[in-house]
């Protein structure tokens, strides 16, 4: 699953550390999610999207056939 976290973070001028504090996870988790190595739970995806005032679909891009 691709995501636009880095792009949205840069546009809002938020660091990984600040985003991790906002959503209550470690900075390592944000790095792993940003780089696509870890797909977050629906709850964490919701919190990340909420912190950018976006919907989950706007932040996370589901790729068909990649399950």
């Amino acid at each position: 699953m691709k995501n636009r976290i880095r792009e949205l973070r840069k546009s809002k001028n938020i660091t990984q550390e600040e985003l991790s504090k906002q959503v209550g996870v470690s900075r390592q988790s944000i790095i792993a999610i940003e780089s696509g190595k870890y797909n977050p739970s629906i709850e964490l995806a919701y919190h990340i999207s909420k912190s950018f005032n976006c919907t989950i679909e706007e932040v996370f891009i589901f790729e068909e056939g990649r399950m």
Binding site: S20, G24, R27, Q28, S29, I31, S35, Y38, S41
Partner: protein, 160 residues
């Protein structure tokens, strides 16, 4: 039956140190919001992988028994504990680095490092059993460190 006071104290102290280490480690991790879902995911995977390694060790020990090498239950349990905890720790170091690194560790290097570590543990375990001297296991420390170094380091070309 003779009771070894030293071994009993060592076992108790080892358990207490392990529990204290776990408690302080978790306390520090909680402060940095480290006990999150990625943490759970990584340690679930680590436990799963270390069981695969332990299964391999059980197979090797069974094979040695079939070949006629006598193994005491304490020796077998010690080796299995060493392999299980050791593989748990090593995989537990590699997975978080690979997950949160700014670039992925090259898979070929990780695989090669794991092969070096697994081979050295198996070879030196067999040697220590055949020679009936556990000190041979100490010789596996250097190849294990080399394997760990190979697995965790990426050359400059890989990181670009």
């Amino acid at each position: 039956m003779e009771i070894s006071i030293g071994a009993t104290i060592g076992m108790c102290m080892g358990m207490i140190c392990g529990i204290l280490g776990l408690w302080f480690g978790r306390k520090k991790a909680r402060k940095n919001r480290g006990l999150d879902e990625l943490y759970s995911h990584i340690w679930q995977k680590t436990r799963s992988y270390s069981w695969y390694v332990t299964l391999g060790a059980i197979f090797v020990l069974f094979s040695l028994n079939v070949l006629g090498i006598e193994l005491s239950s304490a020796m077998v349990l010690g080796i299995l504990l060493f392999v299980h905890i050791g593989s748990w720790g090593i995989i537990g170091i590699i997975l978080p680095i690979n997950m949160s690194g700014t670039f992925p560790l090259p898979l070929s290097r990780v695989k090669f490092g794991i092969i070096v570590i697994a081979t050295s543990i198996i070879v030196f375990t067999i040697m220590s059993i055949i020679a009936n001297n556990w000190m041979f296991l100490l010789f596996s420390i250097l190849p294990n460190l080399i394997g760990l170094f190979i697995a965790l380091t990426a050359n400059r070309k890989d990181s670009e």
